[in-house]
Subunit: 623 residues, 2 copies
């Protein structure tokens, strides 16, 4: 190597590491055709763009980063230099700065990557909005490390880029602080989750990604095996059977933050690959699960958001449906359902009389709603997604009278009975739906959430967690005309309901639970079956032949014969948990490289065709 | 619920959590047909089997675990109860224990899962080999939670189970302490890696698993897309392009402990899915990489093994090949190569005269090797895996004379010259190979490692890390008759070698490095190209057409046009790092559910055929 100069200099990169600065040789070469590749032990920076303060004045520093903005006022040029850690202002002025530096600064474009060396100076006009606002750098050298074309959208917190263009240039979208901060939140949550669970003696175990396809549940993604022609691996929908085997192995407490895969037709906020906090414990009952994972949730709220949660309340599935019409009620606000069958039926109003369920909510203080507002609510409940036929309202007037949309069927005394049952007072508005139980509960749930939002009762910064317990074991599937496992086939039924398994399978409850926060299902799990005969019985009730059960889950049932302990667990949807903590409804911005609703990564253009040679090696053809 | 009894009791499960015991209701029911499923808030244990000490004497406790051993001496029965945390002895004796408890204890089988409640007592004969050896439990109740068939192999540190049966019943193999401890080591290493990197401002980002197939490098596993018929995702061989995009995004420092996939014909110690510690940094040169990741390695050795490492030495690839014949030298011992061309050629020994390289090692103190031992070494180097034609030896006798296998070609003075060059003294044995450079270096490397092992110089508890630097950019591939990227196509060439890219491409060095410990490649990385034109040039030299390069890596080259910073990184083979820390040559026991050499999981029997319906939905056929 032909080195023109050798300087002694301090190491650059260990920027946040104390007591580690060490003397290295800085070898600088003249810039050449391949300047971007020069093999010198170079110093790209002494500090980050978020680090310098008034105490650093007069130091010579080197910063590297992106040009956020250039302001050119004739004799003076200001450059905002940005990196992940912050923004530092560079200033060059005619007279005190060399001409070539001034020219360089003037010609910088947005998002150019530069390296600037200079002296830290105190600013005349300080900026108290940024931590580095007391200082600026007077550069003696500016080097362009890389230029930039004009980005297809502005790299600002509020951008002009639509979803499609942002996804195509996701690497630029991620450059926006608001997006990067979401992924930093995710990073922080991951570390806290692992730290809590490790301290609680959970062992992190990586379970395999190449596993076996099983037709139960959602569709699997499959992977053709080249070495075993005609055979396929499947990607896991969850590590369920493996974590149960780890309990059989005596691991006692397991966790993993793990990618899972489902080949489903994607709804707006689903991803074909998603991340779970997956946990399992031995020698536990539901109570132990509630205590342990309430601990995790409280720890996260405390350490990530500084919020102290109270004890997490519990509600049975039956009550959740009865009072909220949903297995994931938003309990940030009350507005519980009141059944009105006894007071609303048999008064001549045929719509109610023929209904399985008449049920209402009390919208406190909404008696003054206008005709237009009430029509709006009727339109809302009639939407196909909500599905009600109509809406009955009762205004509780300030003078103690009632005004309803069904005045011709109900007297003031009748309506007083409704109001009393619903604990309504003057000024309240009663909203009543009717029909078959399932659809009516669902529609009133939608209306309740709508009213909660309208009344400002669903504050993003208020968190209401809830355990929903005692889920049904089975649910009837109209398409296949058989029962499916509501949670999964490994969930244990409640012993006291076992006698109904043949006669009324739909009434058997399971040792299954969900953790719901603000109306969002954040986690779910169950106490598992750990007995071979019970597991066989369950598969039988789910329509498996004995051979099918053995072919697909024989390894698990075999394992149960070698001393399987009682065990249970839970899995949390990590993408959704992050979005909840970030105050967002959408998970997409909490995933670095998400796929669109067609399961496509538009940035890398995947999926894509593969070569004929690859297909041949895998012994498959495309239809 | 019909509950015969209600007791107040302390919570069970928060066993290691202080200040968290809370009063819950213990509801116990009579055992019934589904006793294993009874839905009571039950207490499976008050303590683990590794927890009780002399201070706990006279406490009533409940333990749950596996029966390790039952010793029945007539009037007395001892039961060793095991869980992940340890072993506690139960003792029942006629006279002081109820008859049904004694009968129960006598009938327990190995690996039964039981729950025992009783009083902690001081042992008469203490066992100082286990932490609970001062106490035993006198049970008043023993409940069988699950029985066990006789395991197919013994669940002991030394087992009688062969590899095949252990893999089929991996859940029982994992029950062995020696295996579980390996996975606990892995758990601990993961937490330490993340803790170190998080403290150093690295952000953990999950990159996608469903990506795009690229023909460069090893074979991809592919995933047919149902929603995009005829198209395929690929599983990542590494998150390389995504981590580079994160640098373009300004993430500055990224890490991930991540599963990667390669569909290769498996050698003994390869797995189709494996785990990497994947890292990338912006604004760095090689020196910064060395400093940062030396920090990580030192931190792990200190915190996991209690070993303080010195500065990690560095060696160029060229010197590694010259002195060790390997790019991953085991530097726990010296025994460097000495080239002997100048002193061994032109003395009439045709084998040497016609060789490109004559090179030897000095096996210190081995001059007394017998004929048989020397023949053994000759057989060793002639193995197909080593591939030498023969071995020349020179014994440095204690009287100052030399005895060699080529005495008829070389005088004592000639051999003295060899010995001097190799710094040999009386008692040493010189072992010399010859032939073309590549094969001879490789063969002598094998012989050196063999001698190192034979002489006890490769102690598992001694760790010699080494940076191997300045790897060649390209390597010639005989099969395809073209150059391939030695590291990968994103690696930057050394600027000072750029002029040879057309004339002598094989001589161009890269800013690429490996971390080697004890002769094992633990990590590798490079400073990347961050300039579009340079990346295009590189693809051209690797035989890509411009269209191919754009189709496959257009997104990355496009990204380089929007302000890509200089960046570089490294990836560590995590499975191998764990095996190294555990003192093992094989990675398999450090993976919870490994696959065999045919890529098959014999426990779950995967890969396996999928249904005609699945194939149809995916629009593929099997050939």
């Amino acid at each position: 190597m032909n080195l023109p100069e050798i300087h002694k200099f301090k190491s650059s990169q260990n920027i946040k590491r104390e007591n580690k600065a060490k003397i290295i040789y800085l070898l600088s070469t003249k810039s050449n055709k391949f300047a971007l590749l020069k093999n010198i032990v170079d110093m790209h920076r002494t500090h980050t763009c978020g680090e310098l303060r008034i105490v650093d004045v007069d130091k010579e520093v080197t910063l590297s980063g992106w040009v956020q903005k250039v302001r050119n006022k004739g004799g003076m040029v200001w450059v905002d230099l940005r990196d992940r850690y912050g923004i530092t202002q560079l200033i060059v002025e005619e007279g005190s700065t060399a001409t070539e530096i001034i020219d360089a600064a003037k010609n910088l474009g947005r998002e150019f990557v530069i390296k600037a060396t200079g002296i830290v100076a105190e600013r005349y006009a300080k900026n108290d909005k940024i931590p580095t606002g007391d200082i600026e750098i007077k550069p003696s050298r500016i080097e362009i490390l890389n230029s930039s074309k004009t980005p297809p959208f502005t790299i600002e917190d509020e951008t002009d880029g639509g979803e499609d263009i942002r996804m195509k240039y996701r690497y630029l979208d991620l450059r926006r602080n608001v997006i990067r901060e979401k992924l930093q939140l995710r990073h922080s949550m991951m570390q806290h989750v692992r730290s809590f669970l490790s301290n609680e003696d959970f062992i992190e175990v990586e379970t395999p990604v190449l596993i076996k396809s099983t037709p139960e549940g959602a569709r699997d993604f499959v992977v053709p095996s080249r070495m075993n022609a005609g055979e396929f691996y499947a990607l896991p929908q969850s590590p369920q059977t493996f974590k149960q085997l780890l309990m059989v192995s005596g691991f006692d407490r397991y966790f993993q933050i793990v990618k899972c895969f489902r080949d489903e037709d994607l709804r707006a906020d689903r991803q074909p690959e998603f991340t779970q906090i997956d946990c399992e414990m031995s020698f536990v009952e539901t109570e132990d699960i509630y205590n342990n994972f309430e601990g995790l949730v409280k720890y996260l709220f405390k350490n990530v958001k500084g919020i102290t949660l109270n004890e997490v309340p519990r509600m049975t599935y039956a009550n959740a449906m009865k009072y909220y019409g949903s297995d994931k009620p938003d309990t940030r606000f009350d507005m519980k359902f009141t059944e009105l069958n006894s007071v609303a039926q048999n008064k001549g109003f045929n719509v109610f009389d023929s209904a399985e369920l008449v049920v209402g909510i009390n919208a406190k203080g909404c008696a003054e709603y206008t005709r237009k507002q009430l029509d709006g609510l009727t339109d809302f409940v009639r939407r196909p997604q909500v599905g009600a036929k109509g809406l009955v309202y009762v205004k509780c007037n300030s003078d103690g009278t009632f005004k309803s949309s069904v005045d011709k069927f109900y007297s003031q005394e009748d309506l007083k009975e409704w109001a009393d049952k619903m604990e309504a007072v003057a000024g309240d508005l009663l909203l009543v739906l009717s029909g078959d139980t399932a659809h009516t509960q669902n529609a009133l749930n939608e209306l309740r959430l709508h009213m909660g939002a309208a009344l400002g009762l669903r504050d993003k910064n208020n968190f209401a967690p809830l355990w929903v317990t005692d889920f049904p074991l089975l649910e009837w599937d109209e398409d296949t005309q058989r029962f499916h496992a509501m949670h999964h086939p490994f969930t244990s039924p409640k012993a006291e309901d076992m006698h109904k398994l043949d006669s009324k399978p739909g009434e058997v409850r399971a040792n299954a639970y969900d953790l719901v926060i603000n109306g969002v299902e954040i986690g779910g799990g169950s106490i598992r079956i750990h007995d071979r005969e019970m597991q066989k019985l369950m598969f039988k009730h789910l329509g498996f032949t004995e051979k099918e059960a053995q072919d697909q889950f024989g390894f698990l049932m075999d394992a149960f014969e070698y001393g399987a302990p009682p065990h249970g667990g839970i899995a949390f949807g990590f993408d959704r948990l992050c979005a909840l903590f970030g105050g967002s409804d959408s998970i997409r911005d909490y995933i670095a490289f998400p796929k669109n609703n067609s399961g496509r990564d538009v940035m890398i253009d995947s999926p894509s065709p593969i070569s004929a040679e690859q297909l041949k090696e895998l012994a498959i053809n495309i239809n």
